[in-house]
């Protein structure tokens, strides 16, 4: 993992130059580009939902109950006669919001604990790693179920709860990176020059762990999206939000399986799969950019 290989993320040149360099490597990876295009489609769906969706996703009885697909309703209608295509388009908002915010929060908690643990060392390290181990053995979904029953179902609680169980992996990774970074020359030099520990952590360690953390963050987005869908599928999602998991919950409960419109079940799942694939592809490409060793392997 460590050694003195210079990574594209190491500080050299301005931001623009770095971005150019990053894009030069990234754009050579075909999967990465497919992933970006897929993601772009979802982002457009989420941002412009009111203009793209043919109907108001909450308006009931725009069609009959469980109407099979037609020109008027490309994916048919659900048990309340709502337009499924519109619901799927609006669902991108919930998924992206939960996925990205939960992953960001995971990254913040994990990075803070990882850097503190690795840099300070000693008892702090012991305590923080004990805590990390504790959270690592907690079974994820059951814990999330319990917490969301306690906190009540809202998007913000779901984000919080997902981050709360997802951070240990990041913390472990950041800690091991920090351990090797803090022995590097520029950190020693900075300390000799009189920089405080806090300054070193924020200005020297943090920028250098970020590339690796951001690669794992993309996978955390996928995980958060799937967890949110799972939670909503159990009927524990935010009842005010339109989410693919919640759609599947009602589809299952209201017997869409036996209805004339199977797309009520198919569509939200395909949407979930597509967004998952987008992030997996991007994370694969990022991994290659961040770890030059992987790149040479091809």
């Amino acid at each position: 993992m460590s050694g003195d290989v210079s990574r594209p993320g190491l500080r050299k040149g301005g931001i623009i130059e770095k971005t150019k360099e990053f894009w030069r490597v990234y754009s050579r990876i075909r999967v990465g580009k497919i992933g970006l295009v897929l993601l772009l489609i979802y982002v457009v769906m989420a941002v412009f939902a009111p203009w793209i969706a043919p109907y108001n996703p909450r308006a009931i009885l725009v069609g009959k109950h469980f109407e099979p697909p037609s020109w008027k309703h490309p994916l048919g209608t659900d048990e309340m006669g709502r337009d499924i295509l519109s619901e799927v388009i609006y669902g991108a908002r919930t998924s992206l919001l939960v996925g990205i915010l939960a992953a960001l929060l995971t990254m913040v908690i994990g990075t803070a604990i990882g850097i503190a643990s690795g840099y300070i060392g000693g008892i702090t390290d012991d305590l923080l790693m004990r805590l990390t181990d504790l959270f690592l053995v907690i079974p994820g979904l059951p814990f999330i179920i319990v917490l969301s029953v306690i906190l009540g179902a809202s998007i913000w609680n779901i984000i919080l709860v997902i981050a709360l169980i997802a951070w240990p992996g990041t913390a472990r990774l950041v800690r091991s990176e920090t351990l090797s970074l803090k022995e590097r020359m520029f950190v020693h030099a900075s300390r000799v020059a009189g920089a405080s520990d806090f300054y070193i952590m924020v200005h020297h360690i943090l920028p250098n762990v970020l590339p690796i953390v951001s690669a794992t963050m993309v996978l955390n987005v996928t995980r958060a999206i799937i967890l949110e869908a799972g939670l909503s599928f159990l009927g524990l999602g935010d009842p005010t939000a339109i989410s693919w998991g919640t759609m599947l919950y009602f589809a299952d409960k209201e017997g869409a399986m036996l209805s004339p419109n199977p797309y009520y079940i198919i569509a939200p799942g395909v949407a979930l799969m597509g967004i998952g694939l987008a992030f997996v592809f991007i994370s694969y490409a990022l991994d290659e950019v961040v770890n030059p060793k992987l790149r040479q392997r091809r």
Partner: protein, 307 residues
């Protein structure tokens, strides 16, 4: 471990919604009967006292009484439910590991060919499918459109069996769909790990040597390469226990499979804290045990690791 039990205890006490209230609604109990129940379950004592009693009982192996089932927690958990879950998880994960390993070795050996790329993309797709959705799709295809498999449950209700074989047959028939969905989901990840390690192993000098010696390809692949590529997949299988449980909750709910996962979900909904505490206790013990077994397997597979 002790810290964990303590945290869990207080988290569950924080849950809103009074369990007694729910039960009162269900059974129309008189206030006196409710008082007796509250006293019986020790809910009239202060929280710290409840906590001390809980720890004392736990040390004796007594995990309390379920509010919903009105039976000792241990008998609710250690019942057919546990066996059902074990049957489902062990069969599904065994299958996924086996198929994932074979396919991974095979794809890595033929790296870059269309077959390899095809399997790789399939694996990535499988990796991103939500397990409950796959379950729903399988149900829709094989239980609703063609009636090959049952919609839910572990056995056909109210059916009498001529002999034990018929019973086992019925059970396996119910097991098929949930098992396939977990297997398929896990397959993607297992395959990817195996393929990645194999690609690295294949490049080692001893593989080149083995090929140069003129050994048959089969022996080189399975005896020399695959054996050395087993470590990461074994580690992952052990460390993934916490995720395995999550998959079980969703799959069991979709298929109405009467196991621990479904019990967890129902206990959370019904505020059945004693059962939840018991479940989390067992789950964590299982995860720790799995980690320990992983270490042992590691030492067995890699003779350089000795404790």
């Amino acid at each position: 471990m002790f810290l964990f039990i303590t945290i869990m205890f207080f988290i569950f006490r924080l849950m809103p919604g009074n369990p007694i209230g729910l039960i009162l609604e269900q059974y129309n109990l008189t206030p006196e009967a409710a008082q007796r129940l509250i006293h019986l379950w020790g809910l009239d004592k202060p929280v710290w006292q409840q906590y001390l009693i809980y720890i004392k009982n736990l040390l004796k192996g007594d995990m309390g009484i379920s509010y919903v089932y009105n039976a000792p927690v241990s008998s609710v958990i250690f019942s057919r439910k546990l066996l059902n879950t074990l049957a489902l998880l062990i069969s599904a994960h065994g299958m996924a590991l086996l198929i994932g390993m074979i396919l991974g070795v095979w794809a890595a050996w033929r790296r870059g060919t269309p077959i390899d790329i095809g399997t790789l993309v399939t694996a990535l797709v499988l990796y991103t499918i939500p397990v409950f959705w796959l379950g729903l799709m399988l149900l829709m295809m094989f239980a609703v459109h063609v009636h090959w498999f049952p919609l839910s449950g572990t056995i056909t209700p109210a059916r009498s069996y001529k002999d034990i074989l018929q019973y086992i047959g019925d059970y396996l028939w119910h097991l098929t769909l949930p098992m396939i969905s977990i297997t398929l989901i896990r397959l993607g990840g297992d395959f990817l790990i195996m393929r990645n390690t194999m690609i690295n192993v294949v490049r080692e000098d001893y593989i080149t040597t083995a090929i140069a010696k003129g050994l048959p390809e089969k022996i080189v692949v399975w005896k020399h390469a695959a054996r050395n590529a087993l470590l990461p997949i074994v580690t992952m299988a052990g460390l993934d226990m916490a995720f395995v449980v999550s998959g079980a909750v969703l799959t069991e709910t979709v298929f109405g499979w009467d196991g621990i996962g479904k019990l967890t979900y129902e206990a959370a909904i019904n505020r059945d804290y004693p059962v939840l505490q018991g479940l989390f206790f067992i789950l964590v013990v299982v995860v720790l045990l799995a980690n320990f077994l992983t270490d042992l397997m590691y030492a067995y597979l890699d003779p350089r690791v000795r404790y």
